[in-house]
Symmetry: C2
Subunit: 664 residues, 2 copies
């Protein structure tokens, strides 16, 4: 029997420099290069056809035009030129996209043309994104290097959760996010739609949910259908989350009878304006609660076609339950011992409702109890160990711990987290298959539409690679190199992570020059984890227009400088280090007048002084060896500079410390 | 009788540094500052109300939030805070906006609050833009300095013409352009909808116009209505232009019988792909032509509410008329001497049709003939003298000569052109009133949606000031200072002139670093006037992705450097000059590897070498006096560097030449 395709030899990737992210499963470099010109308009679809494929081809042509600046020619005359890319799609994908679909594709590029083969449209969509990423500019012009790629994802569940409740994001932000997701082959958009701080979707059955619970900031059902269709066009599932029984204050503004506060009267409730964990929770002991949820979930289950339905389930503090005598009486009557058991009772009841409406339930770690049916899915904010425990119970899961984009960590930090690492590493192969993948989470206490792209991108692309590429793709330096190229590609898609950064710096500078502000901003990072919330009180109305809001969790400047310090060998290296340090040393004098005239920047004066001081220490260190007194003095200086100020870290400090220590 | 408002004393503007553009008619600084915080949400409308005012207030709040990064608070609780801005509108403006409306407003800002008074919504809209521009950041936070402004435009007709025919601009580009226009108080959007290269609007009466004449790139009538409504919301009139009898090849693809080509058969015609002036023109001798135009203009006159209807009329070369025996016979039979008279005959016929459909005719210079009715309006591409001639005939006009944004001139160049300058300066006051204002023109041979914002903005704002502010507002340095602030404000509106520049530079750099590309790009300018078209053949499909396409007609870097050279006195000045020169001298070495690996940049190698060479000469000049041989050598070098290369000028050359000459 003849093999259906040429045998692949796995070539070391380094031999073929590419900017692909995620890295494909198999890649075989070829010889030569396919030129990209105006005739790329003539992409040809063959095999199975559907409108989604036509739209995808048109989008690809449009994206190629944007990336290259080459206008694509409309069909002129009778004889179209030969197709530069022939797409073959074998058959349809499922009417409603599932986590069980074949997402593979094969892409072959030769100097004569390219061919993309996929069993179904999902693979076609992914292969087109790969093709787009492969386009680059060299001395001969725009083109795609000859290559054969066979690709498929490692995990079937590759998601991003967006919290549109704490801060509100209009539909355009959602669509732009979906564009970015498709570019890096993510396939699940998890829409966190309700919170203490807002109920963000129209219910026709219970209109007071959005009318009283949203400040008017919610999606109509037409908009939701629009977003779902937009996502499906891009191979992305949409899963709604309605967090319950906690995180539900906004529901109670319109429907206080759902809450558990003790009689005489629950409520009135107000939309929550603070951040944190709050007491209000649904009353799990009243049948009316389940009648409401039955009707509500029925309405939403009909609106969202995905097979999964997310019910949240996290962070119930139980205080309203403890304080309500009738709930306590119910627990005694039914032998329910403690709030954890009471929530498990609630979750089982809700699971039955979800199932009744034809859906499978997904929720955070807390939904798992021992007698839960096995077709639920656990989204773990706790970690791989929790997923492993679920898998050993026969319950599937996805990882979010380690992928919280709101916590200020670098791309490399998230990149190092593996859904099957840590506590899940010793699962059996069968158990491992229950870990379906992961989802990054964009909680929005500190994110607004203005900041969204800068907080999601480009880091999200590194996590997307973790979910798609094989487990051994872990080289952070290589990842960062490719992340730069992906970041540029994302800008052509309309994502604004670069331009918004510049606009924020200009705002901070006020009437002053932006350059000194950029110099400081390029070497600071937000404090990590939950340190920001601990630093001062924040709420829904806190302006997010400070340096911490502009500061990137990942600084290319700092990475470059740190690499120079680590590998310094040539005079050129030393010279470049010296130039950086001189720029930083002199920056405070340039920034001082701006600090004095910008109320937004005033808080960063100490940080700026610290940068100058440690840069000067670094320059002295470059000049030769120093005595222990000098070392002690500079170490103390570095220790002070290491302390967070204005919720920012001077992320260049560790590299300068190395220089100081080397001068010992 | 008490004066209705405090007496204004005209204070020298320099005492009150502001970033207003256009400069208002009268400005009286006050004491203190109105703080801007989340309560700005509570703008209060009083007096005459209409939905447009509600929308404008909501937009103002949204724009303040974007500019400051301060989230505006929704109404919470029963007691709203005091209104930070009270708007009083006296009465409605005309149902269809005209060139005769009162656009004045009065804005009073005190530390306690602000008040905006206007006779009608147009003044309110302008006053709101002034308020938004006044917001700045100082050591106390965001606020508006106390001030009283009484403002009204110098000219009632302040326009921008966008050619959407040579290159196509989707509706989103049009709307974004309207946003920018409103921000600088422009009030006429002139929509150049048909050309040899495309017919860009749906005709239901003659559908082959768009079906065969547009490559599918046209606006539906619903989209046109949407744009007109969007413009009216912003105080902007929309005037369609259908250029005839020339510039009409795209019409003839579907309706060849309109053309003048000699029998046996006119056509078939193809959409024109080249740039230039072409032979096809309507046949002015056949009654069927006027029957067609009567039906077509009737359809379009119903769609566009403005009182004016633009029929183009420019650049008919007459070759088809000369070559057609039956047209020649017609001319003899009717005593028509020459093509100019034939066009005048056509224009009078068309004028009657336009008038029949309730509109006044506007057209380019060529429409004016001695027996034309006086209610037409001439848009002059020829200059103030032509306008003066029309005014002496009692015919009104607007100036476009001097305001062509496609010709690569600086903001200062356009700023120096006055509609009542040059040949119109000696008109009587009554005649001057016939000059209604002006329109900038964005012809689109070299503009795509990607480039649109970079080619229109921020220069358009300087022209808008020319049209609005008093004639004595002419200080270019002051204009540039304010233009920088306006440019930043426009970015918050969503205009992409800054971010697109950066994206284009990144594309040019390919896989290389962007910084050396930016260094070169920041000191070059496109060749001026029609030199680009002369440099090489271009057509509709020419990629506009080269350095000339990124290069700005105005370089802030060059202005700064030239100012330093002119005023160099301190050691600091000399040091800054030296730093610039050193950067430029060393740039070619940095850029060389990128030039070698980017097909797009390769053509700029000579330019880059020239920059290095003249910068080195500049550095030597700083070091002291030199002998005549040195001067002669460097002058020759500068002369060579002055020559355009790759359609670019090294715009820093004149300033370096000054340094060289000073070293004599």
């Amino acid at each position: 029997m003849m093999p259906k395709a040429p045998v692949f030899l796995m070539a070391p990737l380094a031999l073929f420099a590419h900017d692909l992210m995620p890295v494909p499963a198999k890649l075989q470099p070829g010889a030569g290069r396919l030129r990209i010109d105006r005739n790329f308009a003539f992409v040809q679809l063959t095999g199975y056809r559907e409108p989604r494929l036509e739209a995808a081809a048109a989008r690809l042509v449009e994206h190629v035009a944007r990336k290259t600046g080459i206008p694509m020619a409309p069909a002129i005359g009778k004889h179209a030129p030969e197709a530069p890319l022939i797409v073959y799609c074998d058959h349809a994908s499922a009417p409603v996209q599932t986590a069980q679909e074949d997402e593979s594709y094969r892409l072959t590029v030769t100097p004569m043309g390219a061919r993309l083969d996929a069993p179904n449209p999902l693979g076609v969509l992914h292969g087109m994104e790969t093709f787009l990423q492969l386009i680059n500019l060299d001395a001969s012009g725009f083109g795609v290097p000859a290559v054969m790629i066979e690709d498929h994802p490692r995990f079937p569940w590759r998601g991003l959760m967006l919290d549109v409740a704490r801060h509100w994001f209009p539909l355009a932000d959602v669509k732009r996010t979906l564009d970015g997701m498709a570019a890096v082959k993510l396939n699940v958009f998890h829409w966190h739609l309700s919170e203490n701080q807002g109920f963000r979707i129209e219910s026709q059955r219970f209109p007071k949910l959005q009318e009283l619970g949203s400040d008017g900031e919610y999606y109509t059902q037409d908009q939701v259908r629009d977003a779902i269709a937009y996502a499906r066009e891009r191979g992305i599932r949409v899963i709604p989350e309605f967090d319950m029984p906690g995180h539900t204050t906004a529901w109670f503004v319109g429907y206080p009878e759902l809450a558990s506060a003790a009689p005489p009267a629950p409520g009135p409730y107000q939309i929550e304006r603070q951040w944190g964990i709050f007491d209000p929770a649904m009353d799990p002991t009243r049948e009316e609660t389940y009648q409401f949820l039955d009707a509500f979930i029925g309405e939403m289950a009909a609106l969202f076609p995905d097979e999964y339905f997310h019910i949240g389930g996290d962070e119930v503090n139980g205080k309203q339950w403890d304080a309500n005598p009738s709930i306590q009486a119910f627990m005694r009557a039914h032998g329910i011992k403690g709030n954890e058991e009471l929530q498990a009772y609630f979750t089982r009841r809700v699971e039955a409702i979800v199932e009744k409406h034809g859906k499978k339930m997904i929720g955070w770690d807390e939904i798992l109890s021992k007698d839960m049916p096995h077709n639920i899915l656990v989204q773990s904010w706790r970690g791989q160990k929790a997923l492993a425990d679920a898998a050993r119970q026969g319950v599937g899961g996805i990882l979010s711990n380690g992928y919280y984009l709101d916590l200020g960590y670098s791309a490399a930090h998230h990149y190092a987290v593996d859904p099957l690492g840590e506590g899940a590493a010793d699962l059996s192969e069968e158990q491992k298959r229950l870990v379906l993948g992961g989802e990054a989470c964009m909680w929005s206490e500190f994110v607004t539409p203005e900041l969204l792209d800068t907080r999601v991108w480009p880091r999200m692309a590194a996590i997307a690679e973790r979910f798609w590429s094989t487990q051994n793709v872990t080289d952070a330096a290589d990842m960062y190199h490719r992340l730069g190229a992906v970041s540029r590609d994302l800008e052509w898609l309309g994502l604004a992570h670069v331009s918004e950064y510049e606009k924020m710096l200009a705002r901070l500078a006020g009437a002053g020059p932006v350059a000194p502000v950029r110099t400081l901003a390029d070497v600071v990072e937000p404090v990590k984890d939950y340190a920001r919330e601990a630093a001062r009180p924040y709420d829904r109305f806190s302006p997010l227009n400070r340096l911490i809001d502009a500061a990137r969790p990942d600084s290319e400047t700092v990475r470059r400088f740190a690499a120079l310090v680590d590998h310094r060998q040539t005079a050129g290296d030393i010279q470049e280090i010296r130039e950086y340090l001189t720029l930083w040393r002199d920056n405070h004098a340039r920034l001082a007048p701006i600090l004095a005239s910008s109320a937004l920047l005033a808080e960063d004066a100490e940080l700026s002084k610290d940068l100058s001081a440690i840069a000067e220490a670094g320059l002295e260190a470059l000049d030769g060896k120093h005595d222990p007194a000098w070392i002690a003095e500079k170490t103390a200086l570095l220790d002070r500079a290491k302390q967070p100020k204005a919720e920012l870290l001077l992320s260049v400090e560790p590299a300068i410390r190395k220089l100081v220590e080397a001068a010992r």
